[in-house]
Point group: C2
Chain length 191, copies 2
């Protein structure tokens, strides 16, 4: 059943009665995404909060000079959007692209607000995933400030083995903010 | 009345009935903090989520080599804690120090959990501040990856004028991850 993963993800944090589960399912929309297709492009309205059912995605910022900076990766069982733009209803700053053939379950902002109104325990679910996302980003800021690129690379591969299995070394370099050449040097153990 | 600021902060996001406001007030604890005193030190159990009533605080990581990295500042009307350690009940990684004579309203983890149970709309309040904190940190990661130190400095002073009024240039340098000397060069317009 296509929604079993998202239900398990949500029910890790809140327990749903049968009627609540049914109401939740009515708000969801399953979507196939071809490899290299975009579910969001910079400048678009960011309308969806996306659960990765299968596959892998990368959210990145593309500078005027053409430099890509990876803000996040998401594999199966992760949520991904351009949160700033989703929340504040501003044009997206990020591109979100499927790294491989994928499927997502998406929740529009209207449906999410409806869930907050009709199913108050959804507030708890969203609160928990937001606090986890916040602590993850705060640790990342801390690592950026205090660790060397080599230490950050080793932390990344030990913390996110499921992501490493789906992405290229070049993409990891754009996440760490280093050049692919420098990452090669790190991987060769020469730093 | 000492709790008027925190009530206004919370009631920006949720409206409280008289009885709810009263219950909330019973969980809060006002505390004076001398200039340079710590409300958290690395290694301690992080038990409190702190609202800055008056004054200013700085949360920083101190490396084994003695290098300070500022993770966040907080002035009046902001919340501050070591969120990762508060949530996951691990020893604090950060030091949180009063930059000037301050007062905080603190909420212990037990009281926060009690609020979530007894006052479900507090889930909404916490969800909103967590999503704001997450988007702030995600933008910071994005700026770290894509902007020069000079651009990040100018963004910081235009985004947080109230913080700039309370902190030293050296502290801002440790937030931006640059040396105080390099920040002086930026301020002199020489980059």
């Amino acid at each position: 059943m296509p929604y079993s993963k998202i239900l398990a993800n949500i029910e890790k944090h809140v327990s749903l009665a049968e009627g609540e589960r049914h109401f939740l399912l009515e708000q969801l929309e399953l979507k196939e995404v071809q490899k290299k297709a975009y579910i969001l492009q910079a400048g678009d309205t960011c309308r969806y909060f996306n659960f990765v059912n299968e596959g892998a995605f990368r959210a990145y910022y593309l500078s005027k000079e053409g430099k890509e900076s990876t803000v996040m990766f998401a594999v199966s069982d992760w949520w991904i959007t351009d949160m700033h733009c989703f929340i504040n209803e501003q044009p997206a700053m990020l591109h979100i692209q499927a790294i491989e053939h994928s499927s997502i379950v998406r929740l529009s902002k209207e449906k999410l607000n409806l869930l907050f109104e009709e199913l108050p325990k959804f507030e708890r679910f969203f609160r928990v995933i937001m606090q986890n996302a916040y602590t993850r980003e705060q640790l990342r800021v801390l690592e950026n400030l205090s660790l060397t690129a080599e230490e950050r690379y080793h932390n990344f591969i030990s913390k996110y083995p499921r992501i490493v299995a789906h992405v290229t070394q070049k993409q990891i370099a754009t996440y760490l903010g280093i050049t692919p050449e420098f990452l090669s040097t790190i991987r060769a153990g020469k730093t």
